[in-house]
Point group: C2
Chain length 477, copies 2
C-alpha cells in the first residue's frame, strides 16, 4: 500500500488517538472551527451522515414515524420541570441571555436534548386514546458543553436524530424502545458493517429520566468500547411532570408511557475506529459516498480516457456511486488519496490494460487485487461490493469475539482490562458500589447487560455477594 | 363544500391575517412553543418542508453542490469582521453568554446566517485555482431576534438552506447567482405551483454585504408580495475581509468571487397564502404529503372497505402518496378535514358506487367532481394530478397578471396601492430618496427590477428626474 506517501498520518498502533485525529482531518471529514468544541462537517464527512440519515429515515418512516422540528431553545422554567432530567443535563448547558440587544427576562437553554419540548407539546395535543400513539422523530443538532472534545466522539455541538414517542401502555412503549434498538442494530449490519453488542444499561449508566435505557456498543480497534446509540423506556415520569394524559376507551384518564431514542454523528467516529488502518479511512461500501474510483494510468495515451469514461458510464448504470479521478496529480498520489478517503474499490486503467482488454481492481479493505475483463467489470461490481461489505462485517465481528473474555475472578479482570482491553463478560451483584469500585480500580465501566443472561458464575467477583446480572465491561470513549 | 362544519376558520376575505393563522393551526402545520417567536413544525408542516428540501437537494446535487454543516455559533470577534454584514445583522442576534455554568470569555452569536463561518473556513482550505470552485450548501436553522412574528413568515428561528460558493472570477460567480435563481424559479413552477416575479433588488433592499441581490417574489391572495428567496453576488468583499485568496494558473494571487443564496420555511407561508381558501389549505399535488385520500361511505357495508383497500393498493402502485381515512369519524367530518388539510384529490367509495362499478373523485382546488369507472381510477390519477398542478399554476399566474398594473403617474400609483394592492410596474430614477418617499407615502417597497427592463416611461414619477430602472412595487410581508 502507498502508505503515508502523500499525506503523513501517525501509525494506528503507535498512537491511536493521534491516528484518529489525523484520519479525521486528512480524509477531509471535518475541520475545527474558531468556537472551541464546535466542528465543521466538511462535504466528505457530512456525506457519511447523509448516508446514515437516509437509511434511518427510511426505516423510521416504514415503521410509521413522522418527522417534526422543535425549537432550538428551551425556556429555563420548562427545562426545570423533570427533576432527574435537569440534574443530568443542567451542568452542560449553553444559555442565551441576550436577544436583540436586550437582556432576556427568562434565560433560554440551547437544547441538549428535547424531551421537555416534546412533552410540553404532547400535553397540548394529546387528550384521547385516539391521539395515540405519537411516533415523532427530529433531525437536528444539540449542544452540550464539554470540556474535552474529540471530533465526532464528543463535542459541544453534534448532529443527531431524537425520537420521542407516546403510547397507551407500558407494553407498547417497551416494544417501541426494543424495536428501535433492532433498527439501530440492523443499521450496523446493513450499512456500517459494525456488529453491535446490544443490551440494557445499569441504573448508573442509564439516561437521566429513563426507567430503562438500552444501548448499542461497538468495539474500537484499540480495545475500547463506544456507546453508539441508545433507546429509553421513560415510563410515565415525564408524562406526570408535564401533565400529559388521555382518556382511554373505558373513560378512565391515564398518563401515557413514553420512549426516546437517538443516534448521532458519533457513528462516524465508530466507522473510522472500527475499520480504519495505517493508510487512512476504510469505508464500508454501502455507506461510502464514492464506492468506486477509476484512476487512469498514462491518461494522455490513446483510448485511456475513453475507456475510463465508458467504464464510469457502465458502473453508473448499475446504480453505483463512481467517479474518475482525472485531476492533474500522479497516479501514485491518486492511489494514496483514494486510500486515505477509504474508497472501497479502485480501478486502474492504463494502455497496457487496454491492449489486453482487462483492468485491475484493488479492494481498499484488504489490499487484494483482481484482474477482470473490461467488459465484465461493471456487472461484477455489485457482488464484489457485497462481498467486501460482508467480509468487513465478519472481520469486525471476529475482532469482537477475539476480544471478548469471560472471567469469574476480579484479579484476572483487572489484568485483562489493563493489558488487552476489549470486553469482559463478568457477573455483577447489582450494587452500584461494585460498579464504582470497578471504575476506580480499572477505569472500565459496565457497557450493558446483554439480553442473553446465561450466567457465567454465581457470585459477583468484586464483592462476593450473589450475582444477579451478566454484564459486558470495558473501557469506553 | 363542507365549509367550517368541523373546524371554524375565519373567512379569507374578512380577515386575511386571522384566516392565515387559523389555517396554520387548524391544518396542524405548526404550533406555538413557550419561547416567543419559536414555533413547532408539526408533522404535516414539516412534511411540506421535506418536500421542498427533497426537490432542491436533488437540483443542488445535480449541479455539483455539496452539503456541509457549519457550527451553530459564531464567536463575536469573527462575526464582526465584515462591516456592512455586521451592521445588517447585529441588532437581531441572540447571544450565548453562559456555557457549562460559567460566563464565557467570548460571547457566541447564534448564526443569523453563516457567511462569516463559511468564509473563515474557506480562507483555510483555498490556496490554489485547483481548489475552486467551492459549491457548498447547508440545511439548518438560523436565529434572528424578531419583535413581531408570524408562523413561517417571520420568526426568531426558521429552517432554511444557505448556499455559499467561491469562484475564480466575477463572471463565474455572477452566473452561479443567476443559475440558482433559475432553480428557485423552477421550484415554483414544478413543485409549488407558484409563478415568481424574478429580478434584482435595489441597493436599499439588498443583502448586507452583497454587491447584487436577486430575488423571487410571490403575490399573495391579499395583494401583498412575499419575498420568497434570494441569491447574492458578493463580489470580493468577504474574501478581502476574511483573507481568502488563491494562486491562479499564471502565478498571480487573487481574491476569489463569492455568492450566497437561500430559501426558507417562508415558502410554506407562500403556498398557504397563494392557494388556500375558505375551507383551509389547498396543496399543489407534487408537494402534498398525501395526494389522494380515500373516504369510505357506510364502511360497514359489504365490500366497501375491500374496494377502498384495493383502490389504495392500485394507486400506491402508481408511485403516488395515498391513504384511506378509516377513522371512526363521519364522512362529513372526513371531507371537511381533508379539505382543511388541502389534500388535492378525494375519492368517495360507498355501496351505491360499488353497485354501479364507479366512484366519485373531488378536486380540492376547484371543488370539481368526476365519476370514474372503479377499474380506471388508479391509472387516471397521474394525469388528473398533473392537470390540477398545471391549472393551479395558471390560476396563480392569472392572479399575478390581473393584479399587476403599470403607471407613469405617482398619484395613480398611490391610489392603486391603497385600493387594489398587487404589483405596480413604475419607473424609478435610482435615488434611494424616492424609494423612501414611496414607502413613507404608501407603505409599498421596491420588490425587484425585472430582467426585462423595457421602460414604460422616461421620468421617475416620484421626483420627475430621468428614469433609470423599471421596478415592481408593492406592499410586502
Amino acid at each position: 500500500m502507498a502508505k503515508n506517501v502523500v499525506r503523513e498520518i501517525t501509525d494506528r498502533d503507535t498512537d491511536f488517538a493521534q491516528w484518529y485525529t489525523d484520519v479525521c482531518r486528512k480524509a477531509e471529514l471535518m475541520d475545527y472551527s474558531d468556537a472551541k468544541g464546535f466542528i465543521i462537517y466538511r462535504p466528505y464527512g457530512y456525506a457519511l451522515w447523509e448516508g446514515i440519515q437516509g437509511y434511518l429515515n427510511d426505516e423510521f418512516k416504514k415503521t410509521g414515524h413522522q418527522n417534526v422540528y422543535m425549537p432550538l431553545v428551551i425556556p429555563e422554567s420548562l427545562f426545570m420541570k423533570e427533576a432527574e432530567h435537569v440534574e443530568g443535563f443542567a451542568p452542560e448547558t449553553a444559555i442565551i441571555t441576550v436577544g436583540g440587544n436586550e437582556t432576556l427576562s427568562e434565560r433560554l437553554i440551547i437544547r441538549p436534548t428535547s424531551e421537555t419540548l416534546f412533552c410540553n407539546h404532547y400535553a397540548k395535543i394529546i387528550s384521547s386514546y385516539r391521539d395515540l400513539p405519537k411516533l415523532y422523530n427530529q433531525w437536528c443538532s444539540v449542544v452540550r458543553w464539554e470540556k474535552t472534545t474529540r471530533p465526532f466522539l464528543r463535542g459541544s455541538e453534534f448532529l443527531w436524530q431524537e425520537g420521542h414517542t407516546v403510547h397507551k401502555d407500558e407494553a407498547e412503549a417497551r416494544k417501541e424502545a426494543l424495536d428501535i434498538l433492532d433498527i439501530y442494530e440492523k443499521l450496523g449490519k446493513d450499512l456500517l458493517a459494525i456488529p453491535f453488542i446490544v443490551g440494557k444499561k445499569t441504573e448508573k449508566e442509564k439516561f437521566a429520566g429513563a426507567v430503562d435505557t438500552y444501548s448499542i456498543e461497538a468495539l474500537m480497534h484499540d480495545g475500547k468500547a463506544l456507546q453508539s446509540g441508545t433507546t429509553h423506556y421513560l415510563g410515565t415520569g415525564f408524562a406526570e411532570a408535564f401533565n400529559i394524559s388521555f382518556q382511554d376507551k373505558d373513560g378512565s384518564v391515564k398518563n401515557p408511557h413514553q420512549t426516546s431514542w437517538g443516534v448521532s454523528t458519533r457513528l462516524i467516529g465508530a466507522v473510522i475506529m472500527v475499520h480504519g488502518d495505517d493508510s487512512g479511512l476504510v469505508l464500508p461500501p454501502y455507506l461510502a459516498p464514492t464506492q468506486v474510483v477509476i484512476i487512469p494510468i498514462q491518461s494522455h495515451k490513446e483510448g485511456v480516457m475513453e475507456a475510463c469514461a465508458k467504464l464510469e458510464e457502465n458502473i453508473k448504470a448499475m446504480g453505483l456511486r463512481v467517479k474518475i479521478d482525472d485531476s492533474d496529480k500522479s497516479p501514485g498520489w491518486k492511489f494514496a488519496e483514494s486510500e486515505m478517503k477509504g474508497i472501497p474499490l479502485r480501478i486502474e486503467v492504463g494502455p497496457r490494460d487496454l491492449e489486453q482488454g482487462h483492468c485491475v481492481l484493488a479492494k481498499r479493505y484488504n489490499g487484494e487485487k483482481l484482474t477482470l475483463d473490461l467488459d465484465l467489470v461493471a456487472e461484477s461490481i455489485p457482488s464484489i461490493l457485497q462481498h467486501i461489505h460482508d467480509d468487513m462485517y465478519q472481520r469486525a465481528l471476529l475482532n469482537v469475539l477475539e476480544n471478548t473474555k469471560e472471567t469469574t475472578d476480579y484479579e484476572e479482570f483487572k489484568k485483562i482490562i489493563d493489558s488487552e482491553g476489549g470486553y469482559i463478560k463478568m457477573m455483577w451483584c447489582g450494587d452500584q458500589a461494585c460498579e464504582e469500585k470497578v471504575k476506580a480500580d480499572t477505569a472500565a465501566t459496565s457497557r450493558c447487560m446483554p439480553f442473553d443472561q446465561t450466567p457465567n458464575g454465581d457470585v459477583c467477583p468484586v464483592c462476593g455477594k450473589p450475582a444477579k446480572y451478566l454484564v459486558y465491561w470495558s473501557k469506553a470513549y
